[in-house]
């Protein structure tokens, strides 16, 4: 089946099995291994990507559903080699240990900030509550998001 969508800002058309999981399409067919899989059942958030500006779990999305959509993966967060402010903040704040949850976590954080939902520690923790991390205990991730909010000067919308 032919599927056309915008991937990380580029128009993309490809052939894929319609019921191929998007996480597999990204990792195996497109060699974009930044999106991870850690449970396959929507429980951990490691496979988080963005569709039309909203976070989704790519392990529970099928290729056919991408038709006509705007898709962003972790590879599309930075501008070339220049880190997105969220990525810079994750690095500076020590929010990365093993790094396996990081792509999903960073995209989620960027999404929160973009939608003005990173105004308080409580809001941030709720916002990342669907992304499990086994290494950090979440505290430095929250600090990183707060740092990124400062950097981007995004005021909370609520």
């Amino acid at each position: 089946m032919k599927i056309s969508f915008i991937l990380n800002g580029e128009k993309t058309t490809l052939e894929a099995a319609p019921d191929c999981r998007v996480v597999d399409l990204l990792r195996e067919q497109l060699q974009l291994t930044g999106t991870k899989e850690a449970c396959g059942s929507g429980e951990c958030g490691a496979c988080t990507i963005r569709i039309d500006g909203q976070t989704r779990l790519s392990c529970l999305l099928l290729a056919a559903q991408l038709e006509g959509r705007i898709v962003q993966t972790i590879e599309g967060l930075a501008s070339g080699d220049r880190l997105h402010p969220v990525q810079e903040a994750f690095v500076a704040a020590g929010a990365i240990q093993c790094g396996f949850c990081t792509p999903g976590m960073a995209l989620t954080a960027a999404d929160l900030i973009e939608h003005g939902r990173a105004g308080s520690v409580k809001e941030i923790r709720e916002g990342i509550s669907g992304n499990l991390c086994r290494c950090t205990g979440y505290q430095k991730i929250v600090e990183a998001v707060q740092l990124a909010v400062e950097k981007t000067g995004k005021a909370p919308q609520r």
């Binding site: 291994t33 850690a38 490691a46 690095v91 020590g94 240990q97 790094g99 505290q139």
Partner: protein
Amino acid sequence: MIDANPILHVGRSIPRADAAEKALGREKFAADHYGENLLWAGVRRAGIPHGRLRSIEADEARRLPGVLAVLTHADVKGSNRQGVIRKDQPVLVDDKIRHCGDALALVVAESRRALTRALSLVGFDHEPLQAVFDPEDALVDSAPRIHEDAADGNVLLAGAVRTGRGAAALDQCDVVAEARFDLPMQEHAYLETEAGRAILNESGVLEIVVSTQTPFRDRAEVAEALGIDAERIRIIAPYCGGAFGGKDGISVQSLLGLAASRFPGRPIKMWWSREESFLSSPKRHAARLYYRLGAMRDGRLHALDVRAYYDTGPYDHLGGVVMALGLEHAGGPYRIANVSLKGWAVYTNNPIGGAFRGFGVPQVTAAMEQMLDRIAEKLELSPLELRLRNAVRQRDKNPVGVTLSTSTGLVDCLKTLETHPAWTTATAWKAAAGPHRMRGVGIACVMHAMGYGPLVPDTANAKIELTPEGRFRIYCGVVDMGQGNISTYLQIAGDILSQDMDHMEPVLPDTEKTLPCGSASASRTTYTFGNALIEAAGLLRQRIIERAAGLLMAPADDKVVLIPGAVRHLPTGRDIPLADLARRLGTAERTATGRFRAPTAKEVVTDDPSLRLHGMAHLLFSYGAHLAGVEIDTLTGRVDVCRYLAVTDCGRLINPQLFEQQIHGGIAQGLGYALYEQFIADKGRILTPDLTTYIIPSALDVPEMMSVAIEQPEHTGPFGLKGAGEIAVDGPLPAVANAVADACGRPFHTFPLTAERVLDSLSREKQDGGYRR
């Protein structure tokens, strides 16, 4: 020691060297390796806890389109046995099935779909055997034998340490407390499940990229198990997506090697699903502990009697070492003149008990720290006061009889806790509990040994090279599974060589490129390798300065110093770029190696050679004091941790941010162990087989954590450092348990403290007529 070189990096919170690539999603984990014409390998697992294997039915699977092979033990040419101390785990079962996760057959297919279908078609015939699921039951003479060839029934290892009058001294005590504790299995739940990719390349070398903590040991194990020359095996260990001990040992390596050998030139990938990881990988040992602790009226602990049963499941998997370390820590960091400590690591048909951050110590700490609070109650002393009176200081003997000649900062940890607002405001905080809420504050002391004990050498070999481009390449042999040790190595070497971090590059562990350095475990990854690296970097630095002085024809080489990117002759201000210098040196001159073997305890606390081999006893310990403030919802029983403080003695900090990362992560896992992570197995079958039913904490479940470091230097450590990787996980369960007991007046002995357990206890409390405070 380093001469008058300005410290550039050590002590500073430099961002990690691996962070940017991970933030970009560009860092490739083992699970991210694929290949052209990739084959997929997967395992048919037993699904029954105990049985004698009769035959495997694979014909239907083999006929499936896309299936290239179904391999069994008959295809394994070597010993078909794996293990670190006792090699008792098969690559593919050839005699008995000993747990539900046992591997029976290996399917190789062209697609994951074909693989999944084929696995469902592989059957087997077996003779069911009686199984055993409780470690004390397994010790009974009539219990089913897990390993018929084991020397001592179902005992993997038994150990005992006795000092003074042992348990008899309890008779002399003014107060005695007694309790039994049941600690559950805990699942690592690293986000990257077990994964690897292997290929038998055109030079006949079996190359395996794998998520592992032990590349060199893996190579030896694969060689022996499969009957391949170790020289023809190359293991490459990228950054692990978490491990925590669960990848301290063979997972996919031999299976991949078997498949790859069968299809030379084809890349073969294996990546365990979350459910398969739950089923097959080792867990933290479930443990049953019987404690009797006695003290004198003046607050001195006087006698301790412990019996500790560690359920090690069907295979060695370091289970004896875990039990031995637990036994060594069973008395905690206290002065106790009379102890009788007995431990057993027992075979059962439960899931495998193996290495998990903490390694036997969380279990005994859970028990001992609660026993201390029981004694404090009986003596009407504050829990803090009792601990201060008995805490070990440098030169004391610890409960197993080792003189603490290395840095011992426990008292400073306790004194710091004592003046911290988390403790000083405790009374007021507890009184402010709202409707349907009870609050409590509890503390726990922790200690954690580093290294492998007196017999197994804890050594590391570091190699460092000045590249022709003028950069420094550190050959790191110890795996980085997220703890940031590789970044720390760059920081150490950068400091000694006066270079910026962008002049440093790591080579990740690779049996073909890096030198053997031991496992990423035992809180040793920075201590041991760091010391070897200091030697290597120092040698290289000296050599560079000498050569540069020679080139400059400078009279004395102590006026030549390294600066970022160059060597400078101070009197003239002349610089030689490192790249220029490098071009004038031969390869051997540009490379320096260092070797370090960690010091060991001189006292022999046991004449049991097996117990010594398994680690009894250690020399270097980190210490800490933890505090938890909890709020119980009396309508639901839910325990919320509202405040958490860890005061830690890990020597001097090379990178405070990295240190804090370890403390935070350890606390979070410890809180999971305390409150959420109920691993349920019923007759060997796992009833919590995935992340939906096995609950690890989310961002809404972990509180704000406060971490304070007591920086007392440890003179044998690199820049004064001690290990920090494990100690934080030892504290939360007892701190929380003590806090809950403080809130509701009842102690708890079975864990985790789920809301249901707590509410159950509270309602029984009500029936007994009120809460005892």
